[in-house]
Symmetry: C2
């Protein structure tokens, strides 16, 4: 059974496609088409179970009603939750979401953006990996609507929505200091992205402001594509030796989850031997024993606002050209892993 098309209805009713299209798009009144005809068309459409072909519609109107979402990994709960919020908000505006996991690889995200740009989406929400500046600039040039999330490039005047990473790391470190910890370590990843460097800066500044010397030996920078072994090494080093740390700040939940696994496998007590604070707040942190103090990001707000900004861009009125750059506050969730 072939799907019914506009034409099928038109032929059956002996009217034009124009008429049918108009009526079905609710423009009957506007075009002063008689009540009687409208009803007839609508009834017939229902009878034949007419479903407009979105592809054809898209080709004609140049709109797909689809958003392209480029993130590091949809399997990472951080991005999964963000994806869900974006899906919800997009759906309110009649939009669908196509997702691509770039694994933080510039080359991969480049290809994904290029493919989706071939008429498949109306705009993008992107969490851009290191080295993808060029791709973002191309979107800018081509005037494709897009919003960056989670990170941005200071040198590109784009729309973005991020959190105040410096302040979040500063506050978290200060919290550990106030609890009485002195030898506070930081495990982070070797990434040139601003969000990562700002987290490290916030940590350093908090120590400096408290007149605690920043010991480079207590800053562990993991390889960009880090695995559990890398984290284990870092934690082992921090937990032993003369420079032994008494607390640690993990700068992502991926690092934090692996880090806690290592801490447990080494038989260390939290917070007794090592207090812990981590960026992000996955489910795991609530059921960890003790529960982990977390720097929660406002995913709901990041998701919904990024979609709203994108919608604004897609329906942009000429006048409003200045990029929307939003910096949100994180939510510090104090749990027992960081108590003294």
């Amino acid at each position: 059974m072939k799907k019914t098309s506009l034409n099928d209805i038109a032929v059956e009713l002996g009217v034009s496609k124009t008429l049918v299209s108009l009526v079905l798009n609710g423009k009957g009144r506007e075009h002063r088409i008689s009540e009687k005809v409208c009803k007839k068309v609508i009834a017939k459409a229902k009878e034949l179970n007419y479903q407009p072909n979105q592809i054809a519609k898209g080709l004609r109107t140049g709109k797909t009603n689809t958003i392209g979402l480029i993130i590091a990994d949809i399997a990472n709960p951080f991005f999964g939750k963000l994806g869900r919020e974006i899906e919800n908000e997009a759906s309110k505006h009649g939009y669908r979401v196509m997702f691509c996991s770039s694994d933080e690889k510039a080359e991969k995200s480049k290809q994904q953006i290029e493919v989706l740009q071939q008429g498949l989406v109306d705009g993008f929400i992107i969490s851009p990996p290191t080295g993808s500046e060029e791709q973002i600039l191309k979107l800018e040039e081509a005037k494709i609507p897009y919003v960056l999330v989670d990170r941005f490039f200071p040198e590109i005047d784009s729309n973005y929505i991020v959190v105040d990473n410096f302040l979040a790391a500063y506050d978290a470190t200060q919290h550990l200091i106030k609890e009485g910890y002195k030898k506070i370590a930081c495990v982070t990843i070797n990434d040139k992205l601003v969000n990562m460097s700002q987290r490290l800066e916030g940590y350093k500044k908090a120590l400096a402001d408290a007149n605690i010397e920043v010991a480079e030996s207590r800053i562990k920078t993991l390889p960009f594509s880090h695995e559990k072994d890398d984290v284990l090494l870092a934690v082992t080093e921090l937990a032993g030796g003369a420079e032994k740390a008494d607390a640690v700040l993990f700068t992502t939940s991926k690092v934090g989850v692996m880090g806690l696994e290592c801490i447990h496998s080494l038989g260390l007590q939290v917070p007794g031997n090592l207090a812990v604070v981590s960026f992000d707040d996955p489910d795991a942190y609530r059921i960890s024993n003790p529960p982990v103090t977390a720097i929660a990001q406002p995913l709901k707000e990041i998701g919904s606002r990024s979609v709203k900004i994108l919608m604004d861009l897609m329906n942009k009125r000429k006048g409003k050209k200045n990029p929307q750059q939003v910096m949100l506050k994180t939510n510090f969730v104090e749990r027992s892993s960081s108590k003294k």
Copy 2:
């Protein structure tokens, strides 16, 4: 700057669109188009940075190269990980993925399927909620390729790929019995889906086979849309009274994660006061203290095989009509939460 179309290239080169299309689709040889012309076309396409419009191509060929993925919630790590595997495998076949979270609501999944069916996808991978039989039958009638994952409807002769839930629950329960636990509880959800009922049956059968009476008071069936309060009530009841349980099987990770949170907040020791085994294996179970014994599903295989089955269906040769129904084994990961 407008995007370049096939026609632009044709006009610039003074040849027909046919020729350009043929060459760019690698059918130059096949149509014995001269080497020289081919090169010219390819060079010009590159020069103008030609990107074929996928929408137009899709309209003409009737193929979108997109898969519709309907799952409960992309924010749930179980589905996030599955989504990622599906994305990876689909990408190998030149396919993209559009996802929709149905929240286990039949009405929502129905609408999502209907929309995507309007020419937006070539096939579906669906984790169907209770009550969505009708929608699946409609796909069957319309001969839309689809594969069910995680659950299926016994009365519908569809393609599906699931795990052996009965056996998994049976083995897990037997494991607890062997460890010496006698008063084993089960916290599950009120769902008519086969996967859920089979988990409960497996639990009951293992008890029966070990001559342990199945105490209905130790089977807690949560409301379909369960929240933490529901889980807290269930755990509290199990942990107290004369019929006090000494071990518990959680039938989903969502329930399990909430359950562990409650167990900790009630100050119960695991496994001392209550041993724990749970379906699924989120990150949280590894960093929980003690780590949680889990029934891990082979997500990688479910993902890749579901895509492969779908690809087969989409390129189906007439001959092969029998539905592919796959049942995989789960992987029991013994950790200390279930030790005696």
